[in-house]
């Protein structure tokens, strides 16, 4: 870039801070510093491994949801979908004698199918995705409970440990990785991989350009030839894939799945993405930001427990924490840029 007399020198730092994810990093550092200063266990390697694990599964979902949100849509069915895929896997592997791996494949197919349907209905009917996926959310919730009751007679399906292929599948989805004498869950590796891939897609691929465009202004994007419907359907399928991944991780870790898990999680995914700098109106955000948003949420959520604060007030502290973290993010971004529409 050539020097231009119309450009003031504002320094590298300030330029870098404009990026959505770097604002979130500041929030994350603030939250970490707060808890680490007060709790030794929190900053110990064991503590980190502990709070990083739920942050990882949340992060996988948050990244997928962030992509979808950048593309201008929501998926409220993402939370229950983790239960649906887990239930399918467990029920097929235990009651119908399929091995774990084939059961995983079937549940993946179902998840992608539901994602495809979500996308199709949204793009065809032009109903807001909030409503369409709310419908899917409720329906899946009913199916999860109804089918589980029908098949097992109780509200959970278990016994995966005895199914064929369990050990190998568990190694892949729910194993642990040793590092520095502490064992970290393999979910963390999945999470890093998903974040890296999503970042690459967003920043360096054609699809990424399309995602920003359909979320920023769908009609304008369509007018220059972006296949908006295909892009959105693909995004819904990506979210469904992430839900399958998380569902499988959970099913293999706990070997049984309760029919009502995942409910309410969909909003936590959105929250993580928004903390990480995604706009609810679409067209702006980043995958890394969403990942960091998940870490902020995970740290605040667990840090309060580490500090041993009264459980009755837990939600109060959590709310205050999130607000402060987002505010820090915001102030940093404000400082870095004056106006951005």
């Amino acid at each position: 870039m050539t020097a231009d007399e119309r450009l003031a020198d504002v320094g590298r730092l300030r330029r870098a801070l404009v990026r959505p994810e770097l604002g979130a990093v500041v929030g994350a550092i603030a939250v970490f510093a707060f808890f680490a200063a007060q709790s030794e266990v929190f900053r110990s390697l064991g503590g980190v491994a502990n709070w990083l694990d739920p942050a990882a599964t949340l992060g996988i979902m948050a990244v997928a949801v962030a992509l979808l949100m950048i593309g201008g849509e929501f998926d409220l069915s993402a939370g229950v979908m983790t239960a649906t895929t887990g239930l399918i896997t467990v029920i097929l592997a235990t009651r119908y004698g399929l091995g774990v791996w084939p059961a995983l494949l079937v549940s993946l197919a179902v998840a992608l199918g539901v994602g495809f349907l979500n996308g199709l209905v949204v793009t065809r009917t032009r109903l807001p995705s909030f409503i369409v996926t709310l419908g899917t959310f409720l329906m899946l919730q009913g199916i999860n409970l109804g089918v589980t009751k029908l098949v097992t007679g109780s509200v959970q399906a278990g016994g995966l440990r005895q199914a064929a292929g369990f050990e190998s599948a568990r190694g892949v989805f729910a194993g642990t990785v040793e590092a520095g004498g502490t064992s970290f869950r393999v979910a963390i590796v999945w999470w890093l991989a998903v974040t890296a891939l999503a970042t690459w897609v967003l920043m360096r691929s054609r699809a990424g350009n399309w995602i920003f465009a359909v979320g920023g202004d769908e009609q304008a994007a369509r007018a220059v030839g972006v296949p908006a419907a295909r892009t959105k359907i693909a995004l819904f399928m990506t979210t469904a894939f992430a839900a399958w991944l998380v569902g499988s991780i959970m099913a293999l870790r706990y070997t049984s799945v309760q029919a009502n898990i995942g409910i309410g999680q969909e909003f936590i995914y959105i929250i993580a993405a928004v903390i990480g700098g995604c706009l609810l109106t679409g067209g702006y955000g980043s995958a890394i930001g969403a990942s960091i948003g998940a870490v902020i949420f995970g740290m605040a959520d667990k840090g309060i427990v580490f500090l041993g604060w009264d459980a009755d007030w837990f939600k109060f502290f959590l709310g205050a924490m999130l607000l402060l973290a987002t505010l820090a993010n915001r102030l940093v971004r404000r400082y870095a840029e004056e106006v951005r529409r």
Binding site: N209, G216, D217, R222, G225, R340
Partner: protein
């Protein structure tokens, strides 16, 4: 005729935006669409470029009746458009907007970012727009800069037909001149051009055929030979009237 309409019409709910309009664009020719505000020019353009489907009449590409399934379809048939309003994604950077929908690719579907930036910067500079930073979001550009990005994009990707809906409206005199030169050059390269403008000084020099619209209907299509310069100017209520206006605008 590369692109042609026969008695084409479009309705929005109860609004009859366009009725029974026939026109055509031939290779190496510039068709100007003229008309008052709200005459239906942009609506016609949107039908030609696949944004709206038509409700009646026929649309022909290379003499074949077609129904465009969408803008992608039109682009694939070599029709590039600069719309009056559906222009840019404000939150996206200049280079991303420039290549949106036609991203240059390298292996693995990788978006060739370096090339995209270089080309965007060069094409804009050729139009007399020197953007500071192609990473700037389009929403922060000035009105004219934004329009220039859209024009540069359409010219760069234009294959057989170039459709420009009031491309020069927000441009300075210098930049408008560049655009007129672009149009002439495209015409000379054998492209068909559809050009909408309210400025008779812009329309007359480059136009080969003139379609006149009024309140959604066609007042006729004239070849350059069929209509004298004076008639056209009168039809557009142009230059002469402006001269008269000049006196009127002086101090009372």
């Amino acid at each position: 005729m590369i692109l042609q309409t026969r008695g084409i019409g479009k309705t929005f709910g109860s609004v009859l935006a366009l009725r029974e309009v026939s026109m055509g664009v031939a290779a190496g020719q510039v068709t100007c669409v003229l008309g008052d505000n709200g005459a239906g020019k942009s609506t016609l353009i949107k039908i030609l470029s696949g944004v709206h489907g038509h409700d009646s009449g026929e649309l022909l590409v290379d003499g074949e009746p077609v129904r465009l399934t969408g803008p992608r379809d039109a682009l694939d048939r070599g029709i590039a458009t600069v719309h009056q309003d559906l222009a840019m994604i404000p939150l996206m950077s200049v280079w991303r907007n420039f290549f949106l929908g036609s991203e240059p690719r390298r292996s693995f579907g990788r978006f060739d970012v370096a090339k995209a930036r270089r080309v965007a910067r060069e094409e804009l500079r050729a139009m007399g727009i020197d953007v500071r930073d192609v990473d700037q979001p389009v929403g922060t550009l000035s009105g004219g800069e934004r329009q220039s990005v859209a024009i540069a994009r359409a010219v760069y990707f234009g294959a057989r037909v170039l459709i420009l809906d009031e491309p020069t409206s927000a441009l300075g005199v210098k930049q408008a001149g560049v655009v007129l030169r672009y149009i002439a050059r495209a015409r000379d390269r054998g492209l068909g051009v559809v050009f909408i403008t309210h400025n008779p000084h812009h329309a007359h020099p480059v136009g080969d055929r003139f379609l006149l619209l009024n309140r959604g209907t066609s007042l006729g299509e004239y070849g350059k030979a069929e209509v004298t310069r004076e008639e056209l100017t009168a039809l557009m209520a142009g230059g002469a009237e402006l001269e008269r206006l000049a006196h009127e605008l002086g101090r009372e």
